[in-house]
Every structure is written in C-alpha cells, then in structure tokens.
Symmetry: C2
Subunit: 424 residues, 2 copies
C-alpha cells in the first residue's frame, strides 16, 4: 500500500472504488454500533455488581459513629474523604465527598462563582463585564459546554505532548478577565496525555491577573491505567500551596469508572479555606449527599491498594478493546499516511487526527454505515475544530467482536474521506 498522497489519480480512483464497494458491503450488514461516549461495557458493570451485596448488616449503617441512613454531614462521610484523599494523595480535610456525579460538582463550582463568587472574587462573575476561560484542546466537550453555557468566552490553548502549552497559558493569564482553565491532567480526554511534572509545576506557579483564577483539575482518570502498574502523580493542591497559590485549584474525581457510571460517588479536593467557603454555599443547596452510597463504596473499595487491584481487572477488559481499534488503525490506515493517532496508556479514549478537512465527512460516512461516533469538532471549544481533523474514538462500550467491525467501518470511512479530499 502506498501513501495516498503519493498515488497517481488512477490509483486513487481504483482504491476509492474498492473502498466504496467495501463500504456498501458493511452498510448492508445493518450494523448499530457505538463508539461515541466513554461508557463502560456490560462486562465491567457485571464485574462490580457484587457491590450490591453490601449494606445489609446493621453495623454497615454506622461509619465513625454516624448513621449513614439519616440526614447530615453535608461535606460527606469522613471515611469517604479518607478514601479519596488516599487515592488523590491529598489530605482528608481537603476533600468534599459528594454524590454520583463529579460533573455536577464542577458545574456547581462554576455556577457558584457566577452567582456568588469564589473565595477571592471581587464580585460574582455575573457582575463581571466579561469572563474568559482557557480550554486546552483537543479536550472534553462537557467541560467546554459548562463554561460556554454561562456565556464565558472560550480561548483555545494548544495541547502538547506534555499537556497544555504553558507559554500560551502564562501569556493568557495576564488578562484579568481570564478566570480559569479546564485540565484533565492524567490520561487527558481525548488524547491520553499525562501532563509532565514541569507542566504541572508551571501550572501551580501561575501568577494570574485575576485574584480568583481557578484551575479546574478534573482528575477523572487518576487510577485508570490501561496497562501496567499505577503511575504515581503529583498532588496539585500541595504544589499550588508551595507556589503561594493555596486557593487556586479545585481537583475532581469520581468512581464512575471504578464502580458504576452514574451510581458511583464523587469528590472535589481543594484548600481547607476553599472547602469551608464552598461547604457553606453548598449547605444552602443540599442537606447531604447520598451517604449510604458513600459507605457502600468505602466498604467495597476499602483502600487505594484494593482499588488499584480492581482497576487492573477493568484494564484486563478494556485493553483488548483498545488493541482491537489500534491494531486495525495500524494495519489499515498507517500505510496510507492520512491520519495520526496516539497509543494511550490509560483513560477511555483514542484521539485521532484525520487529514484536515475530513473529520466531519468521515463521521457522516460512519453514521451512514451504522457506527455512531462523538460528533466531529466536539473536542474543541464551541464544538468547532478549526482544522476539521480531530476525532475522538471511545472503544469501551462495545464487546471486542463488535468493536472490530466498528473499527473496520471507521477505517474505511476515514480512507474514503481522505481520497475524496485528495481528489478521485
């Protein structure tokens, strides 16, 4: 196979005809496959459903003397705080243990900044002339949408091999209208990049013009290795404190991809001053999050070591799925030199850069053949990829055999779109 760009027009026409035939054959299968969202597959759900055998003995209802079944403890069970603190390598007194959704805690943080202001805000952000927000891209569409929904101006920060381009970040924060940045520091969504220690230290040492500049540190994949052992990761909270920015970061995590999506527990971790401020605001909103589910998780996960063992079992289910997609890409697309992609070591996604101007077309073809993908552009602010190139592949949901078919469809569509772009 020759690189498409080096083919003669005649070769390209022949290649396209062969692909179009294959596309019709695949379409005829009437597939209905989904690689759109980072949903765990049924095997992973079944693996952890023994969590429901807990909470049946009277002694299970009591944690540190608290009856977990009654109202109270807005900031969460002490035992849940300890569990998250051990996993994130911070202090229990820096942790707020919440409900089933870390996205909700992130939204609440932004929403309260907007309605009431954060600890160091001069005024609620709804009273600011303009609020700007830094979005390392490709990034997570749901992050971008939260800040977009409050009318913030989203500023794209390029991603590098080591995380966000820190030169660009340091320059941007000189503008006092820039109030924060979204980060997925370990196995970034979608690229699977682990921020380098240098990037993290520069992030912690930022000197933003805005006194209430906030790093939204979504450590969604903090223990989500796909292969090998747990990779230790710096504690951003103490690094910020060391750099003289104790209140500049909110870290988020959840068990959505440890136990059950939508029925796990979540947390934010931050300075004790931030925690006291936010707990006061949150106590107007909720009497307590679901402490029974917090206790269920404490009993099930036990501690970090035990949780990491479970994560290896998740990896054993996930790794073959990632391999199925990556092997197909390596075999079918690499020789054509029409796209590049990463081989992530953790997280839930494969990020692929198609030939500029072909991402939307590729996904339209996929849809025609019954394969649903994350919308093209979703990984960029406002859902607009200026290059129309980045595609997020989520291999976690379908079983391996379906995934192989889906990857086959995807590669066929990707190559057809590339040939159309080159001219056939």
């Amino acid at each position: 196979m020759t690189a498409y760009a080096k083919m003669t027009p005649q070769e390209r026409r022949e290649e396209y005809a062969a692909l179009a035939k294959k596309f019709e054959d695949l379409k005829a299968l009437g597939l209905k496959l989904n690689m759109a969202r980072g949903k765990p597959g049924k095997a992973q759900l079944d693996m952890v459903s023994d969590i429901f055998t807990l909470m049946q003995k009277p002694e299970d209802y009591v944690s540190d003397g608290i009856d977990v079944r009654n109202y109270g403890e807005t900031a969460g069970l002490p035992a849940a705080k300890r569990l998250f603190a051990e996993i994130l390598d911070c202090k229990p007194e820096q942790v707020f243990a919440g409900g089933n959704s870390s996205l909700q805690l992130m939204y609440d943080t932004i929403s309260k900044a907007y309605t009431h202001g954060l600890l160091h805000s001069q005024r609620p952000w709804c009273r600011e002339e303009k609020v700007k927000w830094l979005c390392p891209a490709p990034g997570y569409d749901r992050h971008f949408k939260v800040t977009e929904s409050f009318g913030f101006e989203l500023i794209t920060i390029p991603m590098t091999e080591e995380g966000p381009d820190m030169d660009a970040v340091e320059e941007a924060v000189k503008d006092s209208a820039v109030k924060g940045i979204w980060c997925v520091p370990k196995y970034s969504n979608p690229e699977g990049v682990i921020y380098s220690e240098k990037t993290i230290r520069r992030m912690a040492a930022l000197k933003p013009a805005a006194p209430d500049f906030t790093i939204m540190w979504d450590n969604a994949y903090c223990i989500h290795e796909l292969e090998g052992d747990y990779v230790p990761f710096p504690d951003i909270i103490s690094l910020c404190a060391e750099a003289g920015n104790p209140d500049m970061v909110f870290e988020f995590a959840s068990t959505s991809k440890v136990t059950l999506p939508g029925s796990g527990i979540s947390c934010f971790a931050t300075s004790e001053a931030n925690l006291a401020y936010m707990t006061k605001l949150l106590s107007i909103q909720v009497i307590s999050f679901d402490k029974v589910n917090q206790q269920r998780h404490v009993l099930y996960l036990k501690d970090k070591a035990h949780t990491l063992e479970l994560m290896k079992r998740h990896a054993a289910v996930l790794a073959p799925k990632f391999r199925a997609v990556l092997d197909t890409l390596d075999r079918e697309v690499a020789p054509t030199e029409t796209a590049s992609w990463r081989h992530p070591k953790g997280g839930y996604f494969i990020s692929l850069n198609a030939m500029p101007g072909t991402a939307k077309r590729t996904l339209a073809l996929c849809k025609e053949a019954g394969v649903t993908m994350t919308g093209a552009g979703a990984t960029f602010p406002y859902g607009k990829d200026p290059q129309d190139s980045n595609i997020r592949i989520a291999p976690s949901l379908p079983p391996v055999e379906e995934l192989q078919q889906a990857a086959e469809v995807f590669c066929t569509c990707l190559k057809m779109a590339a040939l159309e772009k080159l001219g056939v």
Copy 2:
C-alpha cells in the same frame, strides 16, 4: 391552674419559683435531646433497611430495557417517573426523576432562573434590577434561605387556616419584580396546614405581572399522614393549565421520609414545556442521576397503594411521638393560656405560638437544659420573627421516652419565659 395573665404578682412569683426549681432538677439530669430538625428516628430507618436486599439479581439491573448501572437518561428512569406521577396524580411525562435531594432540585430551579432565566423569562434574573419573592410564614427555613442567598427580597405572606393569605398574594403579584412563591401545600412546614381547594384554585389562577412568576410547590408531605387514610390532594399542574398558566408551577417531592433521608430519590413535576427546557439546562450539569437508586426505589415501593401501606407503618411510629408532645402541652401549658398550637394530622412538625416576645428566651432556657430546638425566628424570612413568638417543634427523632422528657423541659422553659415577660 389559673391563666398566668390572671394571676396576682404573688401567685406568679410562687409559680416561677416552682418552675425554676423544676428547671434546675431537669438541668441536673444532663440531658442531650434534639427536637430541632425533621429527621426520622432509628426505628423508621430500621423499618425500611430491607431496601438494601434488592438489586442483586441480574434482571433487577434492567428497567424498560435500560441498564440502570450505566450512564444515560438525564430525566430519570421511566419507571421512576411513573411511580412519582402516580403518587402526585400527574402524568409521567411531566416528571423529572432526580437524585437524593429535592432541595437540590429546588435550588437548581432558582439557580437556573438566576443564571439563565426560566422558559418565559425576558432575561436571567441576575440581570433584573430587583427580584422579590413571596414567603408564606411561618414556613420552611431552608426555602427562605435559598431565595435569600440569591439576594432576592423576601416578602412575608401571612398563613391562614386555609394556606397563604390569597388576598395578600394576589395583591403582591401585581408587582412585576415579584417572581415567585414558596408553598408546602399539604401539612405545611411547620403548621401542618392543608391548603384548601379554594386557596389552591386561586393560586393556580393567579395573573402575575411577571411572565416568569413561578410557584415552588414543595409537596414534601404529600403522603405523610400521621393518622387515618391518605387524604387526596388536587393536582396543581393540571389546575394551572386549566387556568391558562400551564408553565407557572414546579412541584417537588422525595422519598426522604418514605425510605431513607439523604438516600432516597426526588423529583420535580411540571409542564412538558418546562420539563424540556429544564432538562436541556440540566444536561449541561449532569449526565444522569443515580438510576440504580431509582430502580431500587421502584422495586421497593412498587406503586402508590404499596407506598401508602408503608406510610401507615411510619405513622404508627410517629403518631405516639406527636401525642407525647401534644399531651404534655395540653396538660402543662394549655391552662396557663400562654401559648397556642395546632394538632397536625400529618407532616413532621408542631407549630407553637408562644406569648409574643418569649420564643427566643424559651429556646435559650431549653438549650441550657440540654434540649436543642430549631432556632427562634427560623420559620420567618431572614430568620426574624417580628413577634418573637413562633416555635417549630420536631418530635420525629428522639424515642418516645426521651421525647417526654424533652417536652417536659420545653413546657417548663416556655412557662418560665412567659412569667418573666408578665413580670415576676
């Protein structure tokens, strides 16, 4: 016993000396009792803890074809919507089934009105010159605090035997800055008043100047009878629609006092147009609420009839607690003619009006004797009871024997405060 007001100064001094002696004796017992919040007692929690035996068979994980363990269904499981719709006598398609806290759903509604506006808002409420809010009082402190926290001006509406004074409400809504009203329509917090059908119809037929005026209809005690059978209650959503105000009401309910406080499920019910609008806004904030817990509740509660049977078992635990307090009040305080109170037929509270100017003093004495009560004034906007008279008694948490002691302490303190006011 003579009414205190008719006693001679000498008789009052003797009575006060006897009470002061009793007070010291009670204090010496070193009590630590709590009648502050509407928390269910341990017997109620134990009664429903068999809910944890559910969700263990693979077929339990699937509801209407949805794997409840995975992401998805922002507006909740169809089965949970059906359950709430049957209980509230509305339509399933009018129901959003949420997480463990109806307070959170109420807060979210107000917060989204503030940040984004409601369906018929001309602008987000944070862009309004001024927002005013109607607070029938005595009422629920957490309601008042939500609207206070957004800087709304709280306007007190007097409560009557039939609910909020509708003459006052109809007059108030002529002001376009008045954006809404808090209501607890059945067994109101704290008075236990059931809004009359006339009140409800006048509420549904309001013609407010503000196009986005909103009735926050917190049906917290919709099936919470203390004695006798379930009392049917009109569906506010269809009444509003009939009166030409289809989008004027959000109704709220939860299972916090049906199954477990803080680990139940909640909902809001509203017009389909409102539901679509709010679901779109909420989908930025959360992927899904805890559907496993929704399914657990569907399996446990089954339907309205089965839920009402459970509520009778709760009533059997609660009724003796209410009787213990009411009997003590009737015996100890009634003859002194220093306070008045209601004998509620449902809900979680007894509302008492002490002699004006004595509520704070009464509760300070209670605290001294080891009995914690809801703060004086809490039932009024800004926590300020202009009469310093209303006291909310929450008899649900302590066991009956402790409650009898607590009631004894309370009556002693109430009478001492009255005598101090009258002059001793």
